[in-house]
Protein backbone atom coordinates (compact mmCIF):
# COMPACT_ATOMS: atom_id res chain seq x y z
CA UNK A 1 0.00 0.00 0.00
CA UNK A 2 1.62 3.18 -1.12
CA UNK A 3 0.86 6.64 0.16
CA UNK A 4 -0.17 7.65 -3.33
CA UNK A 5 -2.70 4.85 -3.52
CA UNK A 6 -3.94 5.60 -0.02
CA UNK A 7 -4.50 9.28 -0.74
CA UNK A 8 -5.97 8.71 -4.17
CA UNK A 9 -8.29 5.86 -3.30
CA UNK A 10 -9.51 5.14 0.24
CA UNK A 11 -8.81 8.55 1.73
CA UNK A 12 -10.44 10.30 -1.21
CA UNK A 13 -13.58 8.23 -0.90
CA UNK A 14 -13.60 8.64 2.85
CA UNK A 15 -13.21 12.40 2.77
CA UNK A 16 -15.71 12.83 -0.05
CA UNK A 17 -18.20 10.75 1.94
CA UNK A 18 -17.60 12.69 5.15
CA UNK A 19 -18.10 15.89 3.21
CA UNK A 20 -21.29 14.90 1.44
CA UNK A 21 -22.91 13.07 4.35
CA UNK A 22 -21.70 15.63 6.87
CA UNK A 23 -23.02 18.60 4.92
CA UNK A 24 -26.36 16.94 4.24
CA UNK A 25 -26.75 15.88 7.84
CA UNK A 26 -25.84 19.28 9.15
CA UNK A 27 -28.34 20.99 6.87
CA UNK A 28 -30.99 18.42 7.69
CA UNK A 29 -30.42 18.73 11.44
CA UNK A 30 -30.54 22.48 11.14
CA UNK A 31 -33.86 22.51 9.34
CA UNK A 32 -35.16 19.77 11.64
CA UNK A 33 -34.91 22.15 14.59
CA UNK A 34 -38.13 23.41 13.11
CA UNK A 35 -40.06 26.59 13.66
CA UNK A 36 -43.58 27.40 14.63
CA UNK A 37 -46.12 28.38 12.05
CA UNK A 38 -46.39 32.14 11.79
CA UNK A 39 -49.98 33.01 12.74
CA UNK A 40 -49.87 36.68 11.83
CA UNK A 41 -51.74 37.98 8.80
CA UNK A 42 -49.22 38.37 6.01
CA UNK A 43 -49.04 41.61 4.08
CA UNK A 44 -46.64 40.18 1.49
CA UNK A 45 -45.31 36.85 0.40
CA UNK A 46 -42.79 34.91 2.47
CA UNK A 47 -41.45 33.07 -0.57
CA UNK A 48 -41.07 36.26 -2.56
CA UNK A 49 -39.31 37.88 0.38
CA UNK A 50 -36.94 34.94 0.67
CA UNK A 51 -35.98 35.14 -2.98
CA UNK A 52 -35.60 38.90 -2.77
CA UNK A 53 -33.38 38.67 0.30
CA UNK A 54 -31.21 35.95 -1.24
CA UNK A 55 -30.61 38.12 -4.30
CA UNK A 56 -30.51 41.49 -2.58
CA UNK A 57 -27.73 40.52 -0.21
CA UNK A 58 -25.32 39.69 -3.00
CA UNK A 59 -24.59 43.38 -3.17
CA UNK A 60 -24.32 45.78 -0.23
CA UNK A 61 -27.40 47.97 -0.08
CA UNK A 62 -28.77 50.64 2.19
CA UNK A 63 -25.88 53.04 1.55
CA UNK A 64 -23.15 50.78 2.87
CA UNK A 65 -21.31 50.20 -0.37
CA UNK A 66 -18.56 52.73 0.26
CA UNK A 67 -18.13 51.64 3.87
CA UNK A 68 -17.78 47.95 3.12
CA UNK A 69 -16.12 48.19 -0.27
CA UNK A 70 -13.06 46.33 0.97
CA UNK A 71 -15.08 43.30 2.02
CA UNK A 72 -17.04 43.41 -1.20
CA UNK A 73 -13.96 43.52 -3.40
CA UNK A 74 -11.78 41.06 -1.49
CA UNK A 75 -14.72 38.78 -0.78
CA UNK A 76 -15.78 38.51 -4.38
CA UNK A 77 -12.20 38.28 -5.68
CA UNK A 78 -11.59 35.30 -3.45
CA UNK A 79 -14.92 33.53 -3.85
CA UNK A 80 -15.34 33.97 -7.59
CA UNK A 81 -11.69 33.08 -8.11
CA UNK A 82 -12.06 29.97 -6.00
CA UNK A 83 -15.14 28.76 -7.86
CA UNK A 84 -13.58 29.34 -11.24
CA UNK A 85 -10.46 27.44 -10.20
CA UNK A 86 -12.50 24.67 -8.67
CA UNK A 87 -14.58 24.13 -11.77
CA UNK A 88 -12.40 25.20 -14.67
CA UNK A 89 -8.78 24.41 -13.81
CA UNK A 90 -7.65 21.90 -16.40
CA UNK A 91 -6.57 19.19 -13.92
CA UNK A 92 -9.84 19.66 -12.04
CA UNK A 93 -11.88 19.24 -15.21
CA UNK A 94 -9.99 16.05 -15.92
CA UNK A 95 -10.51 14.87 -12.35
CA UNK A 96 -14.23 15.65 -12.44
CA UNK A 97 -14.50 13.87 -15.78
CA UNK A 98 -12.59 10.77 -14.75
CA UNK A 99 -13.43 10.42 -11.09
CA UNK A 100 -16.75 12.11 -10.34
CA UNK A 101 -19.20 12.97 -13.10
CA UNK A 102 -17.94 11.22 -16.18
CA UNK A 103 -18.27 14.40 -18.20
CA UNK A 104 -15.81 17.18 -18.68
CA UNK A 105 -15.91 20.61 -20.18
CA UNK A 106 -13.57 23.12 -21.71
CA UNK A 107 -10.99 24.09 -19.12
CA UNK A 108 -9.41 27.49 -18.68
CA UNK A 109 -6.35 28.27 -20.73
CA UNK A 110 -3.24 28.34 -18.60
CA UNK A 111 -2.87 32.12 -18.59
CA UNK A 112 -6.46 32.50 -17.37
CA UNK A 113 -5.86 29.92 -14.68
CA UNK A 114 -2.83 31.84 -13.41
CA UNK A 115 -4.68 35.13 -13.48
CA UNK A 116 -7.69 33.68 -11.67
CA UNK A 117 -5.47 32.06 -9.06
CA UNK A 118 -3.76 35.38 -8.44
CA UNK A 119 -7.08 37.14 -7.98
CA UNK A 120 -8.29 34.42 -5.61
CA UNK A 121 -5.08 34.48 -3.59
CA UNK A 122 -5.09 38.26 -3.39
CA UNK A 123 -8.67 38.16 -2.09
CA UNK A 124 -7.98 35.48 0.50
CA UNK A 125 -4.77 37.05 1.75
CA UNK A 126 -6.44 40.45 2.02
CA UNK A 127 -9.36 38.96 3.95
CA UNK A 128 -6.92 37.23 6.29
CA UNK A 129 -4.84 40.39 6.68
CA UNK A 130 -7.99 42.23 7.65
CA UNK A 131 -9.05 39.53 10.08
CA UNK A 132 -5.82 39.80 12.04
CA UNK A 133 -5.62 43.58 11.98
CA UNK A 134 -9.16 44.92 12.34
CA UNK A 135 -10.15 45.35 15.99
CA UNK A 136 -13.73 44.43 15.12
CA UNK A 137 -12.75 41.22 13.39
CA UNK A 138 -10.21 40.38 16.08
CA UNK A 139 -12.97 40.74 18.65
CA UNK A 140 -15.34 38.38 16.90
CA UNK A 141 -13.03 35.83 15.23
CA UNK A 142 -12.42 32.43 16.75
CA UNK A 143 -10.10 29.51 16.06
CA UNK A 144 -12.53 28.08 13.54
CA UNK A 145 -12.34 31.22 11.41
CA UNK A 146 -8.57 30.99 11.25
CA UNK A 147 -8.52 27.24 10.70
CA UNK A 148 -10.98 27.52 7.84
CA UNK A 149 -8.97 30.31 6.23
CA UNK A 150 -5.68 28.46 6.59
CA UNK A 151 -6.98 25.13 5.35
CA UNK A 152 -8.53 26.78 2.32
CA UNK A 153 -5.33 28.68 1.70
CA UNK A 154 -3.19 25.56 1.99
CA UNK A 155 -5.47 23.64 -0.36
CA UNK A 156 -5.24 26.42 -2.92
CA UNK A 157 -1.51 26.87 -2.48
CA UNK A 158 -0.60 23.20 -2.76
CA UNK A 159 -2.69 23.10 -5.92
CA UNK A 160 -0.73 25.92 -7.43
CA UNK A 161 2.59 24.50 -6.26
CA UNK A 162 1.76 21.43 -8.34
CA UNK A 163 1.26 23.58 -11.41
CA UNK A 164 4.13 22.01 -13.27
CA UNK A 165 2.07 18.81 -13.23
CA UNK A 166 5.15 16.70 -13.40
CA UNK A 167 5.45 15.40 -9.92
CA UNK A 168 3.23 12.88 -8.18
CA UNK A 169 4.39 13.93 -4.74
CA UNK A 170 3.13 17.49 -5.29
CA UNK A 171 -0.16 16.27 -6.67
CA UNK A 172 -0.62 13.97 -3.69
CA UNK A 173 0.15 16.76 -1.25
CA UNK A 174 -2.53 18.88 -2.91
CA UNK A 175 -4.99 16.04 -2.82
CA UNK A 176 -4.21 15.32 0.80
CA UNK A 177 -4.75 18.94 1.78
CA UNK A 178 -8.05 18.98 -0.07
CA UNK A 179 -9.10 15.82 1.74
CA UNK A 180 -8.32 17.37 5.11
CA UNK A 181 -10.35 20.38 4.03
CA UNK A 182 -13.28 18.20 2.98
CA UNK A 183 -13.29 16.38 6.30
CA UNK A 184 -13.07 19.61 8.26
CA UNK A 185 -15.78 21.33 6.25
CA UNK A 186 -19.05 19.95 7.69
CA UNK A 187 -17.94 20.58 11.27
CA UNK A 188 -16.90 24.14 10.75
CA UNK A 189 -17.97 27.57 9.65
CA UNK A 190 -16.94 26.65 6.13
CA UNK A 191 -20.56 25.46 6.12
CA UNK A 192 -21.45 29.06 5.35
CA UNK A 193 -21.03 27.98 1.74
CA UNK A 194 -24.44 26.37 2.18
CA UNK A 195 -26.04 28.08 5.14
CA UNK A 196 -25.99 31.52 3.53
CA UNK A 197 -29.05 30.58 1.51
CA UNK A 198 -30.91 29.46 4.64
CA UNK A 199 -29.95 32.55 6.58
CA UNK A 200 -30.85 35.04 3.86
CA UNK A 201 -33.94 33.05 2.93
CA UNK A 202 -35.25 32.79 6.48
CA UNK A 203 -34.74 36.47 7.11
CA UNK A 204 -36.37 37.32 3.79
CA UNK A 205 -39.32 35.07 4.55
CA UNK A 206 -39.93 36.66 7.94
CA UNK A 207 -39.85 40.17 6.51
CA UNK A 208 -41.42 39.30 3.18
CA UNK A 209 -44.63 38.60 5.08
CA UNK A 210 -44.38 42.10 6.49
CA UNK A 211 -43.94 43.59 3.04
CA UNK A 212 -40.36 44.73 3.34
CA UNK A 213 -36.95 43.25 2.57
CA UNK A 214 -34.20 44.66 4.74
Amino acid sequence: MSLIWFVEQPLWYLSATVFVVGVLWRLFALVALGKKEDLSVARGSAGGGAVRAVLLHFIPHGGFFSKTFFHFLAGYAFHLGLFVLLLFAAPHVTFIDERILGVGWTPLPRWAFILTAEIAFAGLIFLWARRISDPVQRQISDADDHAGTWLTFIAMLTGCLALQESNDALRIIHMLSVEVWLIYFPFSRLMHAFTWVLSRGNMGAVFGRRGVTP
Binding site: G34, A53, G62, H71, Q139, I140, S199, F207
Partner: protein
Protein backbone atom coordinates in the same frame (compact mmCIF):
# COMPACT_ATOMS: atom_id res chain seq x y z
CA UNK B 1 -26.52 28.24 39.82
CA UNK B 2 -29.09 30.05 37.78
CA UNK B 3 -26.85 30.04 34.72
CA UNK B 4 -28.53 26.77 33.82
CA UNK B 5 -31.89 28.53 33.76
CA UNK B 6 -30.46 31.08 31.39
CA UNK B 7 -28.95 28.37 29.23
CA UNK B 8 -32.27 26.58 29.04
CA UNK B 9 -34.07 29.80 28.24
CA UNK B 10 -31.59 30.59 25.47
CA UNK B 11 -31.79 27.06 24.08
CA UNK B 12 -35.56 27.40 24.06
CA UNK B 13 -35.30 30.44 21.82
CA UNK B 14 -33.36 28.66 19.10
CA UNK B 15 -35.49 27.46 16.22
CA UNK B 16 -34.30 26.65 12.73
CA UNK B 17 -34.39 30.30 11.73
CA UNK B 18 -32.20 31.47 14.60
CA UNK B 19 -29.93 28.47 14.06
CA UNK B 20 -29.49 29.36 10.40
CA UNK B 21 -28.42 32.86 11.46
CA UNK B 22 -25.92 31.53 13.99
CA UNK B 23 -24.57 29.02 11.48
CA UNK B 24 -24.14 31.53 8.70
CA UNK B 25 -22.19 34.27 10.50
CA UNK B 26 -18.68 34.37 9.07
CA UNK B 27 -17.40 36.99 11.49
CA UNK B 28 -16.66 39.59 8.83
CA UNK B 29 -17.62 42.44 11.12
CA UNK B 30 -19.40 44.52 8.50
CA UNK B 31 -22.38 44.84 10.84
CA UNK B 32 -20.31 47.20 12.98
CA UNK B 33 -20.60 49.72 10.14
CA UNK B 34 -24.37 49.74 10.57
CA UNK B 35 -24.50 50.06 14.35
CA UNK B 36 -24.78 53.54 15.77
CA UNK B 37 -23.33 52.36 19.08
CA UNK B 38 -20.18 51.11 17.39
CA UNK B 39 -20.02 54.10 15.10
CA UNK B 40 -20.04 56.66 17.91
CA UNK B 41 -17.69 54.77 20.24
CA UNK B 42 -15.44 52.81 17.91
CA UNK B 43 -15.46 50.10 20.57
CA UNK B 44 -15.34 46.69 18.87
CA UNK B 45 -17.35 45.04 21.64
CA UNK B 46 -20.41 46.81 20.28
CA UNK B 47 -20.15 44.91 16.99
CA UNK B 48 -23.67 43.55 16.49
CA UNK B 49 -22.69 39.95 15.84
CA UNK B 50 -20.67 39.91 19.05
CA UNK B 51 -23.94 40.45 20.89
CA UNK B 52 -25.09 37.06 19.62
CA UNK B 53 -22.15 35.32 21.29
CA UNK B 54 -23.96 33.93 24.39
CA UNK B 55 -26.79 32.32 22.47
CA UNK B 56 -24.29 31.16 19.86
CA UNK B 57 -22.30 29.42 22.56
CA UNK B 58 -25.38 27.69 23.90
CA UNK B 59 -26.26 26.65 20.36
CA UNK B 60 -22.83 25.28 19.57
CA UNK B 61 -22.51 23.53 22.89
CA UNK B 62 -25.94 22.00 23.25
CA UNK B 63 -28.02 22.28 20.14
CA UNK B 64 -26.00 22.45 16.96
CA UNK B 65 -25.58 19.41 14.74
CA UNK B 66 -22.46 17.49 15.87
CA UNK B 67 -22.44 19.36 19.20
CA UNK B 68 -22.19 16.01 21.01
CA UNK B 69 -19.18 15.07 18.97
CA UNK B 70 -17.60 18.46 19.52
CA UNK B 71 -18.13 18.18 23.25
CA UNK B 72 -16.62 14.70 23.25
CA UNK B 73 -13.44 15.90 21.58
CA UNK B 74 -13.30 19.08 23.62
CA UNK B 75 -13.99 21.53 20.81
CA UNK B 76 -17.36 22.73 22.04
CA UNK B 77 -17.39 26.24 23.52
CA UNK B 78 -17.35 26.55 27.30
CA UNK B 79 -20.61 26.50 29.17
CA UNK B 80 -22.10 29.92 29.75
CA UNK B 81 -21.45 31.30 33.22
CA UNK B 82 -23.21 33.93 35.29
CA UNK B 83 -20.20 36.15 34.69
CA UNK B 84 -20.65 35.82 30.91
CA UNK B 85 -24.27 36.80 31.22
CA UNK B 86 -23.37 39.76 33.36
CA UNK B 87 -20.75 40.81 30.82
CA UNK B 88 -23.28 40.67 28.01
CA UNK B 89 -26.05 42.45 29.91
CA UNK B 90 -24.80 45.84 28.74
CA UNK B 91 -24.36 44.62 25.18
CA UNK B 92 -27.80 43.07 24.96
CA UNK B 93 -29.85 45.67 26.84
CA UNK B 94 -28.03 48.98 26.71
CA UNK B 95 -26.40 48.98 23.31
CA UNK B 96 -28.88 47.38 20.99
CA UNK B 97 -32.07 49.17 20.06
CA UNK B 98 -33.22 46.16 18.02
CA UNK B 99 -33.26 48.53 15.07
CA UNK B 100 -32.07 45.81 12.71
CA UNK B 101 -29.97 48.07 10.51
CA UNK B 102 -27.14 45.54 10.71
CA UNK B 103 -29.25 43.12 8.71
CA UNK B 104 -28.99 45.41 5.70
CA UNK B 105 -25.23 45.28 5.56
CA UNK B 106 -24.93 41.59 6.45
CA UNK B 107 -23.83 39.50 3.48
CA UNK B 108 -25.64 36.60 5.11
CA UNK B 109 -28.79 38.60 5.79
CA UNK B 110 -28.73 37.73 9.47
CA UNK B 111 -31.50 39.29 11.54
CA UNK B 112 -29.26 40.08 14.49
CA UNK B 113 -31.89 42.24 16.18
CA UNK B 114 -34.25 39.31 16.57
CA UNK B 115 -31.45 37.15 17.94
CA UNK B 116 -30.55 39.88 20.42
CA UNK B 117 -34.17 40.19 21.54
CA UNK B 118 -34.39 36.44 21.97
CA UNK B 119 -31.06 36.43 23.82
CA UNK B 120 -32.55 38.78 26.37
CA UNK B 121 -34.72 35.85 27.47
CA UNK B 122 -31.54 34.35 28.92
CA UNK B 123 -30.88 37.43 30.97
CA UNK B 124 -34.50 37.49 32.11
CA UNK B 125 -34.09 33.91 33.31
CA UNK B 126 -30.84 34.81 35.07
CA UNK B 127 -32.50 37.80 36.74
CA UNK B 128 -30.26 40.33 35.03
CA UNK B 129 -32.76 42.69 33.54
CA UNK B 130 -31.72 46.33 34.05
CA UNK B 131 -33.53 47.94 36.93
CA UNK B 132 -35.38 50.54 34.88
CA UNK B 133 -36.82 48.04 32.43
CA UNK B 134 -37.80 45.61 35.14
CA UNK B 135 -39.66 48.27 37.09
CA UNK B 136 -41.43 49.43 33.94
CA UNK B 137 -42.45 45.86 33.15
CA UNK B 138 -43.80 45.38 36.66
CA UNK B 139 -45.87 48.53 36.38
CA UNK B 140 -47.12 47.44 32.97
CA UNK B 141 -48.34 44.14 34.36
CA UNK B 142 -49.77 45.56 37.59
CA UNK B 143 -51.26 48.90 36.64
CA UNK B 144 -51.77 48.44 32.92
CA UNK B 145 -49.01 50.74 31.71
CA UNK B 146 -45.37 51.38 32.50
CA UNK B 147 -45.96 55.12 32.89
CA UNK B 148 -49.65 55.83 33.25
CA UNK B 149 -51.23 55.55 36.65
CA UNK B 150 -54.84 54.36 36.87
CA UNK B 151 -57.33 57.12 36.23
CA UNK B 152 -54.96 59.32 34.26
CA UNK B 153 -56.16 58.10 30.87
CA UNK B 154 -59.73 59.10 31.61
CA UNK B 155 -58.65 62.63 32.56
CA UNK B 156 -56.42 63.08 29.52
CA UNK B 157 -59.11 61.80 27.16
CA UNK B 158 -61.75 64.04 28.70
CA UNK B 159 -59.50 67.06 28.36
CA UNK B 160 -58.70 66.28 24.72
CA UNK B 161 -62.35 65.61 24.00
CA UNK B 162 -63.25 69.01 25.40
CA UNK B 163 -60.47 70.71 23.50
CA UNK B 164 -61.55 69.48 20.07
CA UNK B 165 -65.22 69.48 20.95
CA UNK B 166 -65.79 65.86 19.98
CA UNK B 167 -67.08 63.29 22.46
CA UNK B 168 -64.83 60.30 22.98
CA UNK B 169 -66.48 57.26 24.56
CA UNK B 170 -64.32 54.82 26.47
CA UNK B 171 -64.98 51.06 26.58
CA UNK B 172 -67.75 51.35 24.01
CA UNK B 173 -68.92 48.02 22.66
CA UNK B 174 -69.88 47.36 19.07
CA UNK B 175 -67.58 49.95 17.48
CA UNK B 176 -65.33 49.05 14.53
CA UNK B 177 -62.03 50.30 15.84
CA UNK B 178 -60.17 49.97 19.12
CA UNK B 179 -57.44 52.56 19.56
CA UNK B 180 -54.49 51.68 21.72
CA UNK B 181 -51.90 54.25 22.68
CA UNK B 182 -48.32 54.37 23.71
CA UNK B 183 -47.76 55.56 27.27
CA UNK B 184 -45.53 58.25 25.87
CA UNK B 185 -48.45 59.60 23.84
CA UNK B 186 -50.78 59.75 26.83
CA UNK B 187 -48.10 61.37 28.94
CA UNK B 188 -46.37 63.73 26.54
CA UNK B 189 -48.05 63.80 23.17
CA UNK B 190 -51.72 63.68 24.17
CA UNK B 191 -52.74 66.00 21.31
CA UNK B 192 -52.74 62.89 19.20
CA UNK B 193 -55.95 61.82 20.91
CA UNK B 194 -57.72 64.98 19.83
CA UNK B 195 -56.18 64.62 16.38
CA UNK B 196 -57.56 61.09 16.06
CA UNK B 197 -60.98 62.26 17.21
CA UNK B 198 -61.05 64.91 14.49
CA UNK B 199 -59.83 62.63 11.77
CA UNK B 200 -62.17 59.77 12.70
CA UNK B 201 -65.10 62.13 12.94
CA UNK B 202 -64.50 63.33 9.41
CA UNK B 203 -64.00 59.79 8.15
CA UNK B 204 -67.07 58.57 9.97
CA UNK B 205 -65.28 55.92 11.91
CA UNK B 206 -66.67 54.43 15.09
CA UNK B 207 -64.00 53.89 17.68
CA UNK B 208 -63.18 53.62 21.32
CA UNK B 209 -60.37 53.33 23.81
CA UNK B 210 -60.32 50.61 26.45
CA UNK B 211 -59.61 51.60 30.02
CA UNK B 212 -58.05 48.23 30.74
CA UNK B 213 -56.10 47.65 27.55
CA UNK B 214 -55.11 51.12 26.38
CA UNK B 215 -51.38 50.58 26.57
CA UNK B 216 -49.75 49.64 23.28
CA UNK B 217 -46.15 49.54 24.49
CA UNK B 218 -45.10 45.97 25.13
CA UNK B 219 -42.30 46.28 27.61
CA UNK B 220 -42.19 42.50 28.02
CA UNK B 221 -41.43 42.14 24.35
CA UNK B 222 -38.60 44.63 24.61
CA UNK B 223 -37.05 43.12 27.71
CA UNK B 224 -37.24 39.67 26.19
CA UNK B 225 -39.63 38.07 28.63
CA UNK B 226 -41.94 35.78 26.67
CA UNK B 227 -44.33 35.55 29.64
CA UNK B 228 -44.77 39.26 30.20
CA UNK B 229 -44.95 39.91 26.48
CA UNK B 230 -47.74 37.34 26.16
CA UNK B 231 -49.62 38.75 29.15
CA UNK B 232 -49.57 42.24 27.66
CA UNK B 233 -50.64 41.10 24.20
CA UNK B 234 -53.35 38.92 25.71
CA UNK B 235 -54.75 41.91 27.54
CA UNK B 236 -55.33 43.75 24.25
CA UNK B 237 -56.67 40.64 22.55
CA UNK B 238 -59.15 40.01 25.39
CA UNK B 239 -60.31 43.57 25.40
CA UNK B 240 -60.72 43.67 21.63
CA UNK B 241 -62.73 40.46 21.73
CA UNK B 242 -64.86 41.68 24.59
CA UNK B 243 -65.64 44.94 22.84
CA UNK B 244 -66.22 43.07 19.60
CA UNK B 245 -64.13 45.39 17.41
CA UNK B 246 -63.11 44.56 13.88
CA UNK B 247 -59.81 46.44 14.02
CA UNK B 248 -57.23 47.37 16.57
CA UNK B 249 -55.32 50.46 15.58
CA UNK B 250 -51.67 50.23 16.39
CA UNK B 251 -50.55 53.73 17.30
CA UNK B 252 -47.50 55.78 16.53
CA UNK B 253 -45.29 53.42 18.49
CA UNK B 254 -42.62 51.23 17.03
CA UNK B 255 -42.50 48.01 18.98
CA UNK B 256 -46.21 48.01 19.65
CA UNK B 257 -46.85 47.25 16.01
CA UNK B 258 -44.34 44.41 15.77
CA UNK B 259 -45.34 42.97 19.13
CA UNK B 260 -49.08 43.05 18.51
CA UNK B 261 -49.37 42.51 14.79
CA UNK B 262 -46.43 40.40 13.71
CA UNK B 263 -45.56 38.46 16.84
CA UNK B 264 -48.79 38.83 18.81
CA UNK B 265 -50.65 35.83 17.39
CA UNK B 266 -47.53 33.72 17.77
CA UNK B 267 -47.35 34.64 21.43
CA UNK B 268 -51.00 33.98 22.23
CA UNK B 269 -50.97 30.88 20.08
CA UNK B 270 -54.02 31.78 18.03
CA UNK B 271 -54.87 34.07 15.17
CA UNK B 272 -56.35 37.41 16.16
CA UNK B 273 -60.13 37.62 15.74
CA UNK B 274 -59.59 41.22 14.63
CA UNK B 275 -57.23 42.89 12.21
CA UNK B 276 -54.37 44.99 13.48
CA UNK B 277 -53.92 48.08 11.37
CA UNK B 278 -51.21 50.61 11.82
CA UNK B 279 -52.47 54.16 12.16
CA UNK B 280 -50.45 55.22 9.12
CA UNK B 281 -51.91 52.43 7.03
CA UNK B 282 -55.40 53.48 8.12
CA UNK B 283 -54.83 57.18 7.47
CA UNK B 284 -53.42 56.46 4.04
CA UNK B 285 -56.36 54.21 3.25
CA UNK B 286 -58.81 56.89 4.36
CA UNK B 287 -56.96 59.52 2.36
CA UNK B 288 -57.03 57.35 -0.76
CA UNK B 289 -60.73 56.63 -0.31
CA UNK B 290 -61.40 60.35 0.02
CA UNK B 291 -62.73 59.92 3.54
CA UNK B 292 -60.08 62.19 4.98
CA UNK B 293 -59.65 65.47 3.19
CA UNK B 294 -56.96 68.00 3.89
CA UNK B 295 -56.61 71.63 3.00
CA UNK B 296 -53.49 73.73 2.70
CA UNK B 297 -49.85 72.81 2.64
CA UNK B 298 -47.19 72.99 5.30
CA UNK B 299 -44.43 75.13 3.81
CA UNK B 300 -41.76 74.23 6.31
CA UNK B 301 -38.77 72.21 5.14
CA UNK B 302 -39.65 68.92 6.78
CA UNK B 303 -38.18 65.46 6.73
CA UNK B 304 -39.42 62.12 7.98
CA UNK B 305 -37.66 59.93 10.54
CA UNK B 306 -38.55 56.31 9.79
CA UNK B 307 -39.11 54.44 13.06
CA UNK B 308 -37.19 51.19 12.65
CA UNK B 309 -39.99 48.92 13.76
CA UNK B 310 -42.51 50.59 11.51
CA UNK B 311 -40.40 50.98 8.37
CA UNK B 312 -37.49 48.57 8.19
CA UNK B 313 -39.09 45.90 10.33
CA UNK B 314 -42.76 46.66 9.85
CA UNK B 315 -43.06 47.37 6.16
CA UNK B 316 -44.96 50.64 6.55
CA UNK B 317 -42.75 52.83 4.37
CA UNK B 318 -44.80 54.31 1.53
CA UNK B 319 -47.85 55.27 3.58
CA UNK B 320 -46.25 58.06 5.61
CA UNK B 321 -44.78 59.50 2.42
CA UNK B 322 -48.08 59.74 0.59
CA UNK B 323 -49.61 61.31 3.67
CA UNK B 324 -46.84 63.87 3.97
CA UNK B 325 -46.98 64.66 0.26
CA UNK B 326 -50.65 65.46 0.72
CA UNK B 327 -49.98 68.15 3.30
CA UNK B 328 -46.47 69.40 2.67
CA UNK B 329 -44.97 71.48 -0.07
CA UNK B 330 -41.39 71.19 1.11
CA UNK B 331 -40.72 67.59 2.07
CA UNK B 332 -37.15 66.33 1.78
CA UNK B 333 -35.82 62.83 2.30
CA UNK B 334 -32.77 61.95 4.36
CA UNK B 335 -30.01 59.87 2.82
CA UNK B 336 -30.78 56.17 3.30
CA UNK B 337 -34.36 56.90 4.26
CA UNK B 338 -36.98 54.18 4.50
CA UNK B 339 -35.69 50.70 5.23
CA UNK B 340 -32.11 51.89 5.71
CA UNK B 341 -32.84 54.75 8.07
CA UNK B 342 -30.75 55.32 11.18
CA UNK B 343 -32.35 54.64 14.56
CA UNK B 344 -33.19 57.43 17.00
CA UNK B 345 -30.95 55.63 19.49
CA UNK B 346 -33.59 54.70 22.05
CA UNK B 347 -35.69 51.86 20.69
CA UNK B 348 -35.83 48.30 21.93
CA UNK B 349 -36.23 49.27 25.56
CA UNK B 350 -33.05 51.35 25.62
CA UNK B 351 -34.98 54.53 26.41
CA UNK B 352 -36.61 52.86 29.42
CA UNK B 353 -33.20 51.87 30.73
CA UNK B 354 -31.54 54.72 32.66
CA UNK B 355 -28.26 52.80 32.68
CA UNK B 356 -28.07 53.26 28.91
CA UNK B 357 -28.81 56.97 28.79
CA UNK B 358 -25.32 58.37 28.23
CA UNK B 359 -24.57 56.19 25.26
CA UNK B 360 -28.06 56.63 23.87
CA UNK B 361 -27.63 60.39 23.69
CA UNK B 362 -24.18 59.92 22.17
CA UNK B 363 -25.56 57.58 19.52
CA UNK B 364 -27.85 60.34 18.31
CA UNK B 365 -24.79 61.79 16.56
CA UNK B 366 -25.41 59.35 13.71
CA UNK B 367 -28.99 60.53 13.33
CA UNK B 368 -27.90 64.14 13.64
CA UNK B 369 -25.44 63.71 10.81
CA UNK B 370 -28.22 62.36 8.63
CA UNK B 371 -30.42 65.36 9.45
CA UNK B 372 -27.65 67.94 9.18
CA UNK B 373 -26.72 66.76 5.70
CA UNK B 374 -30.06 68.01 4.45
CA UNK B 375 -29.46 71.47 5.83
CA UNK B 376 -32.11 73.86 7.04
CA UNK B 377 -34.63 71.27 8.14
CA UNK B 378 -37.38 73.08 10.05
CA UNK B 379 -39.33 70.14 11.43
CA UNK B 380 -38.75 66.45 11.89
CA UNK B 381 -41.84 64.33 11.36
CA UNK B 382 -42.03 60.84 12.77
CA UNK B 383 -44.61 58.26 13.71
CA UNK B 384 -43.35 56.70 16.91
CA UNK B 385 -43.88 58.36 20.26
CA UNK B 386 -40.79 56.73 21.67
CA UNK B 387 -38.64 57.95 18.78
CA UNK B 388 -40.20 61.36 19.24
CA UNK B 389 -39.36 61.49 22.92
CA UNK B 390 -35.83 60.20 22.41
CA UNK B 391 -35.24 62.57 19.52
CA UNK B 392 -36.50 65.57 21.49
CA UNK B 393 -34.26 64.76 24.42
CA UNK B 394 -31.24 64.31 22.19
CA UNK B 395 -32.04 67.45 20.19
CA UNK B 396 -32.06 69.40 23.46
CA UNK B 397 -28.83 67.77 24.51
CA UNK B 398 -27.15 68.66 21.21
CA UNK B 399 -28.63 72.18 21.43
CA UNK B 400 -30.34 71.97 18.09
CA UNK B 401 -33.46 73.89 17.19
CA UNK B 402 -35.71 71.33 15.58
CA UNK B 403 -39.32 70.59 16.50
CA UNK B 404 -40.38 66.94 16.28
CA UNK B 405 -43.91 66.38 15.06
CA UNK B 406 -46.14 63.31 15.09
CA UNK B 407 -47.52 62.52 11.65
CA UNK B 408 -51.08 61.93 12.85
CA UNK B 409 -51.11 65.34 14.50
CA UNK B 410 -49.70 66.92 11.37
CA UNK B 411 -52.46 65.39 9.27
CA UNK B 412 -55.05 66.60 11.77
CA UNK B 413 -53.68 70.13 11.56
CA UNK B 414 -54.45 70.27 7.85
CA UNK B 415 -57.76 68.51 8.07
CA UNK B 416 -60.34 70.19 5.83
CA UNK B 417 -63.12 70.99 8.27
CA UNK B 418 -65.35 72.95 5.94
CA UNK B 419 -65.58 76.66 6.82
CA UNK B 420 -63.29 76.27 9.83
CA UNK B 421 -59.73 77.34 9.40
CA UNK B 422 -57.02 74.72 9.54
CA UNK B 423 -56.35 73.96 13.14
CA UNK B 424 -54.11 76.43 14.81
CA UNK B 425 -50.60 75.20 15.10
CA UNK B 426 -50.19 74.65 18.72
CA UNK B 427 -46.78 73.64 19.81
CA UNK B 428 -46.61 71.73 23.00
CA UNK B 429 -44.28 73.34 25.49
CA UNK B 430 -41.49 71.02 26.26
CA UNK B 431 -41.87 69.57 29.71
CA UNK B 432 -38.18 69.10 30.32
Amino acid sequence: MSAQKAIDALAGQIDSTVASYLEACIHCGQCAEACHFYQVTGDPKYTPTYKMRPIDRVYRRDKAPFSGLMKAIGLAPDELTMQDLEDWSELLYDTCTLCGRCTLVCPMGIDIATVVRKSRAGLVAAGMVPEGLLAAAERAVEQGSPLIKPGVLEKVVAKQSAEVGIPIELDKKGVDYLVILSAMEILNFYEVIGALAKIFKQAGISWTISTTAFEATNIGYQMGSPDIARTLVQRIVDSAEELGVKYVISPECGHAYTALNWDGPNMTGKRHSFKVIHILELLEQLRRDGRVKTKGLDGRRITYHDPCQISRRGGVIDEPRSLIDQISSNFVEMRNHGAANICCGGGGGVSSNPRAEGLRIKAFACKKEQIDELGGVEALVTSCANCRNVLEEAIDEFEMDLPVVGLTELVAMYLDEGEKKPAARKRRKKAA
